[in-house]
Symmetry: C2
Subunit: 245 residues, 2 copies
């Protein structure tokens, strides 16, 4: 599958993903750009039933976690580099917010490369954004030390479904020439018209008893209250892991 | 060029990158996974000499910025979605830290997809990590509104150099089975031995008059003092853009 045809796969066959193939994909994914060629990430591979069951609650028990043969938690990692510095008479200074952002960037480039490579050999992936919703639970479960932080989780397996591709905004909605051109009311109407017209989205509005599709997002799926609670949790977790004072 | 063979390209031919090709790459890159299919990003395309000259200082005047036909600043963007909510009788709640992290994640997956696609058609890319070092300057230059934030910059063009691939750590250095296995002294020695043995790295140590390669990083390239100053700047910029209280 190429990037153009990709779709999220949430149901997998029981067939395993061989360790050799997984190693090859992770090795090649690491060709992604990385700050100073430091590679500020670690990938935790969960294959055991117990391991998946322990992670599942932090992903709201979405069935992909227990249903996939492999779950990978991609972690920002300044611990390994700091350990190296400590052993080489160097004084590391990576217990700060910028270093977290640098490591998170490295990690997500690596993660996306991994997904592309996995999809190229026919594997299916599902990106779990929930990773940053409950970071402390994942940190404890995966025994993540200071100066590491989980930023992305991928469930991985051989596809057992073939869903339709989801819609995307037209390019004019996301690209700007020379500087950011803020959106007029007409721009917003035009950019979101296709999304709002899709039958599945009209159904969402109806079954949630809302007036608009936007209300489904703000009132049901991604609420201010949840976002604020999870922001506080994330900031606490960053402090706990040594990335914020 | 495939992911396996990729390398950073810093020197470009004068040939332009056609707007049609660029549009196609950006459109296809947007197939990346995205939170709730919201697409929390914008890409600002800089082609003008003035535009590149204005951005260059915030990237420490690295020559790629003015030397590339195209510079793209990839921005986390909750502004567009918030505008849509405001116009659809929905009350958005995305002026918080978690929302920044969600948008940054979306943006970096999109960015990496873009790089892979660009490299597949023979273009060269250079990822500028400096984007988060001086965010306020970039925010002003690109007129980025509240709830947007620059997280990655790519210089893009047809390669005019063919450098050797850089080294990477062995896979055992970045992959963990079931949980994070912290590194022993022997692990660190083994994982970093190849990097430390490379002639170019030995030269770095020598010309910087350091005892170890790690000291080149901690004392010259990524110092605690710089990291702490830039952390404060980044936190201020996040507040300015409405992502932190």
């Amino acid at each position: 599958m190429t990037i153009k045809e990709r779709k999220t796969i949430r149901k997998y066959k029981e067939d395993d993903v061989s360790p050799e193939l997984l190693d090859e994909l992770l090795t090649t994914a690491a060709r992604a750009a990385t700050m100073g060629n430091i590679q500020l990430y670690s990938a935790i591979v969960t294959r055991s039933e117990e391991g998946k069951a322990a992670l599942a609650p932090f992903h709201f028990n979405q069935p992909m976690v227990k249903g996939a043969p492999v779950v990978i938690t991609f972690c920002a990692d300044f611990n390994r580099f700091t350990e190296w510095c400590n052993q080489r008479q160097a004084t590391p200074g990576y217990d700060n917010f910028l270093s977290f952002i640098n490591a998170m960037s490295d990690t997500l480039l690596f993660t996306q490369n991994f997904c592309t490579l996995a999809e190229e050999v026919g594997l299916g992936t599902c990106y779990l954004g929930t990773t940053v919703y409950n970071p402390m639970g994942i940190i404890e479960t995966l025994r993540l030390p200071r100066l590491t932080f989980p930023v992305a989780t991928i469930t991985l397996g051989w596809p057992d479904e073939d869903p339709a591709q989801t819609d995307r905004l037209p390019l004019e909605g996301i690209a700007h020439s020379e500087y950011y051109h803020n959106y007029t009311d007409d721009d917003i109407d035009r950019i979101y018209s296709r999304k709002e017209s899709l039958p599945e989205n009209k159904t969402f509005v109806e079954i949630n008893d809302k007036l608009t599709l936007a209300q489904v997002f703000t009132d049901c799926r991604y609420t201010k209250k949840d976002n604020e609670a999870m922001s506080a949790g994330m900031i606490e977790a960053l402090k706990h892991q040594g990335f914020l004072e």
